[in-house]
Amino acid sequence: MHIKLRIWRQDSTQAPGKLVDYDLDDVSEDSSFLEMLDLLNNGLIEKGEEPVAFDSDCREGICGMCGLVIDGVAHGPEACHDDLPTPYAGL
């Protein structure tokens, strides 16, 4: 599936930040949100652009390491391992 992302990018805590648009094609519906970000990052690296920094560890909804804010809501386990369509249908 096709996904449009607007991600807050900031070089450091002091640097000014901004929202950057990304378009992703061919995302598997079985991907989790974090796996979709892996796909984005590996694409960015191949293009020579800095990947998006984000925390994650267990990726099964128990450690509490991932701290993404998606559409204004702080997401934990859902972003971590749910299939994409479940919480983000229509994005």
Binding site: D30, E35, M36, N42, I45, P51, A53, D57, H81
Partner: protein, 643 residues
Amino acid sequence: MPVFTEVMLDGKAPAGPIETKWERTKFEMKLVNPTNRRRFKIIVVGSGLGGAAAAASLGELGYNVECYAYQDSPRRAHSVAAQGGINAAKNYRNDGDSVYRLFYDTVKGGDFRAREANVYRLAEVSNAIIDQCVAQGVPFAREYGGLLDNRSFGGAQVARTFYARGQTGQQLLLGAYQALSRQIAAKTVTMYNRCEMLDLIVVNGRARGIVTRDMITGQIEARLADVVVLATGGYSNVFFLSTNAKGCNTTAIWRSYKRGALFANPCFTQIHPTCIPPAGEHQSKLTLMSESLRNDGRIWVPRNAGDNRPADQIPEAERFYYLEETYPSYGNLAPRDISSRAAKRQVDADRGVGPLRNGVYLDFADSIQRLGQKVIANRYGNLFDMYDNITGEDAYKTPMRIYPAPHYTMGGLWVDYYLMSNIPGLFVIGEANFSDHGANRLGASALMQGLADGYFVLPATLPNYMASTKLDKVTLDSPEVKDTIAGITQIENRLLSVKGTKPVDYYHRELGKIMWEYCGMSRTAEGLEKAIQEIPKLRDEFWQNVRVLGEGNDLNQELEKAGRVADFFELGELMCIDALQRNESCGGHFREEYQTEDGEALRNDAEYTYVSAWQYMGDNAMPVLHKEPLEFEYVKLATRSYK
């Protein structure tokens, strides 16, 4: 082939009857006077069950402890993800359990490749762990009357597993984390989060500190101490896809190996039978479904190869309950190595289920009919929810699909009975060492070992080392310290300067494919030789073509990953060398050339009843093999049968 030394390694297990070894050792070891303890500085790397328990216990004793974690909080350590439970020989069920039986089951479960004295001690302290955790307030499951409940795990015919729904590891870790937090507040323990150990500092042959990288600022620093304790977990992520957290890595133990610590039984890896099968190339990790589910779930595949009807359309007579049929006395609770290989055989024979035909069923229909859905939900509710979240399937209605996945590594740094490596002052505990599980770990024994080492064994053995050793003064200006820092900076610069074309993940995934194909659930000499050719080629390509953007002196997650993957390449090769050297099948190490007529593991006790401990000899040199002979005085060497 590798060269080996004729000098046998000594595990230093005390003499005397096995029941008295630990008590006597505890009395004979030297103590440190309470007023002297704060003068000793101890570094603990890792904050999971082993690390947090050790840091908290040593802090409480009065030592000056520093604890390091790569996560943002100690409570994220991967012990948090352990689901099913923790074993102890309490015999609350009155079903014939005892310390001796837990010891016996663990030695047999490990296929006679563990040190008897260590395993006995583990069984002996298991009961104290439960008392300790209950005192901390860990909410173990209880029966209606209020007594602690138990369930059964693989490889045992008693119910000795204590649990907190499907989140036992999390609850135990919160207990250890509370104990640790109390010591942090009391200033006996200083906690360093987001701080990763990258090397071991060895001065005059003794471990005297570590080099760390602050993962926010990128700053590389030396941290000195009198003793270093590694509690850094296992290396299943060498397979890329495993049930381990994404950050789990081998760097702390691998770089200690390169400083002279022996690496024992690297090829002994556990492939857990019940994980959710991979769904495609995007997959970043695999998810475990607790072994406890096999208490109430029945494993089956269609009896006819190629049958692709949905589960509910396959009549009872055409279902093959292969574990129940092949291993009637243990049934669905056959040990992990045996259950995993059995699943592989079915999928290889085209009896796999699911869209990719890469799984087997774990079916709860009978239990739900017998006990009702509510009982099943009480026992495993969170696991059913997790399964639903990941697969979109309701396992109360259709059977779960499961398949084996890399989960735990029995191998690790070699330690003696006192949990000290061959480098004096370097202690290794929990999954990071090799000591207690032989060639196969039984379910619910990892939590037991981590906490046994951290709460009870290390706090007794470590003071003995300090009380009997005169340590030289080491300062940050010592040449060994400066050299170690320089080495780490050099690795970092080298990774950043490749400026190739492919991301780190690409190489990690490719390495994982080689490891899974040739050093996974079954192995052959031919396949391993091939892997030993292919891994260095891929490693060279990695060093010539990996692309790590950004700087070293900044937050840089690709740089963190690159360093870890570089180590996985080297470890992967050693695993294959070890697997090739061991011309037998035992536990999780299954060499196709060595099997019985029924396809079971065929050990070669005459030639391989030893621990293989490898010594690093240089990046392009063959490591030297040291052997620690194993003797079985109590549990007599016998063919392991669960039929």
